[in-house]
Symmetry: none
Subunit: 140 residues, 4 copies
């Protein structure tokens, strides 16, 4: 189980990673193993739709058990499949990097982090840094 | 404009208020003037649906320009009205205390806070404490 | 058929009516005979959700062929009926005064106006003034 | 903050631009920084669905912080991404020119204009003219 304290730590580290790197402002969400939000943060300088984007990256990861990179590969190989998956989950799946699975020491998926604001690859890198800082294992 | 830092302070103070009072675990969201999330926190011991509840309390406040207490009074006087308002906003309005308008020094609405987890009145009290701690004015 | 010019005149007159009377800022929409927007205006000082409210008042009027007062009477007499109607129209019907049918000289419904911002009765009064100014007949 | 007066001026100029150029009738909406309508106009000769199209062009611009041209480029490079983004925003994002970001003197996004009716490029040109007439800066 991810605690709120861990979720907030992941988000603080991920956002600071982007600031230190000079990226556009990052927003981030952490979802639990059921796909429900534990914590979210969006800088006031970021565009207003960042919650929906961050959640959709993380939600697809939890619900499908696949990180954003694997989802993107599937979307590029078989676009209609991910489009239909998105429909089945009522539009809440965004299959690109920045949605990162979170695993515990036993390898069990205990949630996901979604980061958005810069390039998808940078978003994923920031998420991995945040998850590692909380002592957990991320799968981008 | 509410900053992310202010939003996080409001949430930290509101959640600590509940813990100190021995209430059930509180979750809280802060929305900007357009109804879009800036920050959210849910303790891992709270039920998973708290984001939707907190957001709906705050979203109705922003979109209607009415605090949760005024919304509840209207719902009790004219139930079909608030039910229909909820429909017009696609199910995202929850007209009870705990949705609190946030105003700046000039009295302009700059967002709303939604708190959920204990009784509606306690939720509203925690929100008011958080908003005051950030130097802003709340209307419950 | 209501022209855009007429719709804009109705809205200008309705909003000025509220300003002259010292009411809270009014927002207004005019829909055509199919329930589709021709024109809308919301002062920047009004709460952000006024489009949805104005449209739902006017949309119910057009789709049911009943002004807001008749809809409210029905809602008070038979709440489940208007709740179910609202469901059938996907949440887009708000059965209160301020939704006003617009008729041509032959009495044919050619659209509806929705006004929101002050009390429902004042909203309806402003709408009637706007519709009359455009040389048409309103049924509140 | 965009005033209603500015929004109405933008729309009047954009629609006149199309009429003067002999284009098909244009419809236009102006949204605030939270994606909520300030003003809309559709000539009675235009097709009835123009509100939804204009709003979706402008809504995507505000929520993503990207003009319609940048959205279209992303949609053409990575179609499944913009399709999924549209899902995350409940079908309210239309990634083509005619959705134009509106910035203040400091470069901050304060809303967006959506124009529809002729070709997407002409729609965008009309929006830029309207925004400039109101003394603001557009990003198509």
């Amino acid at each position: 189980m991810i605690t709120l304290e861990q979720a907030q730590q992941m988000i603080a580290v991920a956002l600071a990673h982007g600031t230190d790197a000079g990226w556009k402002p990052l927003s981030a969400v952490v979802l639990d193993a059921g796909g429900h939000p534990l914590a979210f943060a969006r800088p006031e300088t970021a565009s207003p739709g960042r919650f929906e984007i961050a959640r959709a990256k993380a939600y697809g990861a939890v619900m499908l058990g696949m990180g954003g990179k694997a989802q993107m590969a599937r979307a590029e190989a078989q676009g209609y499949f991910m489009a239909a998956v998105n429909g089945a989950f009522e539009g809440k799946v965004l299959p690109v990097p920045g949605g990162v699975l979170i695993r515990d020491d036993a390898g069990v998926v205990i949630g996901a982090m979604g980061v958005t604001g810069d390039s998808s690859d940078n978003d994923a890198q920031a998420a991995l840094g945040g998850i590692a800082a909380a002592g957990l294992s991320g799968e981008a």
